[in-house]
Symmetry: C2
Subunit: 177 residues, 2 copies
DNA sequence: GGCCATTTGTTTAAAGTTCAAGGAGGGGCC
DNA sequence: GGCCCCTCCTTGAACTTTAAACAAATGGCC
């Protein structure tokens, strides 16, 4: 992510061809993206750490569980929904379990399997803290964008997200690592 | 970030008023945003860890230093540019120093101050790895968006980024913590 | 000069994440 | 059945980040 000083002559006999550097305009876009994403992540992490006592990712796990049938999901499926590794999920669920917000349950069909189940306490924490979190997201994002921009953002991020999880076998996806 | 089951009656005498939940459309936008941001972060972190032996944030620090006059920046200024806390930066610089990619230097004007200086080795690492990183960013983002979308993305993220770093005193910004 | 609040940067410990390795079960194939 | 490979999930160590506390230097004010 650096601009080259002078562009070397093209068509040389060098093995390593000149990379397609980002244009100035692309660089600006990229920097705003990184800044916005970094600050937003920090902001929401802090908001939730303060108000719910957990990082944003953990909160997201509780939300996924709350939305699932019977408020439970297999570990791998939850990892897939949250876009994280199974290892990270294992540690996270261990912590949430210690808080009493999630409990594990064996899967009857597959003895290797585990369900993460949202407890009533976990559900209650969500009820208590969801409004504040929604407010934070609104203030930081939706209240600042007009409907057109909101639509664009969704579309753009969908393209990026889908591009990063190809359906082919052998793809390096977090939950398969 | 949860949908309420039924919307309670408005204008009640309750203290806690009903939060403005996200509409279905807003929820979709938000989820694509989080998915895309999470996957992109993971993807670039992994690419750089593999090819440059450091996380994305650390790489970004080297880039900022490379762009600075005399390839050096005061710690706080670097933290500000990278949108991270000074504590985090201290640890990061310590690690990069161990790698020989950055060195610290005392500030002559202010005896509390420290400069982080990019070493020649650090600069070389950047030269070696920048093309691969640019490729990764291109493949994940720019090659998938038309010019209109790129422009929108920059504008939208600029709005979000600026909204999260108000100029007022007392703002909770990472580098002031 | 002396005092005090603020700024600068680091340090320690706790919390979270990544990485590599591994135990255990499933499922195909002979 | 027995074998082999794959999937599911966990574990422990190394690394990174956060949170809180701190020392030293600055700058304003008297």
């Amino acid at each position: 992510m650096k601009a080259p000083a002078p562009a070397p002559t093209e068509g040389s006999t060098e093995k390593a061809r000149e990379p397609r550097w980002l244009t100035d305009e692309e660089q600006r876009v990229w920097r705003w993206f990184m800044e916005g994403a970094t600050l937003l992540d920090d902001h929401l992490d802090r908001q939730l750490q303060r108000d719910a006592g957990m990082p944003h990712v953990y909160y997201g796990l509780l939300v996924k569980l709350a939305e699932a049938p019977r408020r439970r999901l297999r570990m791998t499926e939850l990892a897939m929904l949250a876009k994280i590794t199974r290892s990270r999920l294992s540690h996270a669920i261990a912590r949430l379990e210690k808080n009493g917000w999630v409990r594990r349950e064996d899967c009857p069909d597959d003895k290797r399997g585990q369900f993460a189940v949202l407890t009533e306490e976990g559900h209650e924490v969500l009820r208590q803290t969801a409004p504040g979190h929604v407010d934070a997201v609104r203030q930081a994002v939706f209240d600042r964008l007009d409907p057109e921009q909101q639509k664009s953002l969704g579309e753009i991020m969908r393209i990026i997200a889908e591009g990063l999880q190809p359906t082919e076998a052998g793809a390096d996806l977090p939950w398969l690592r």
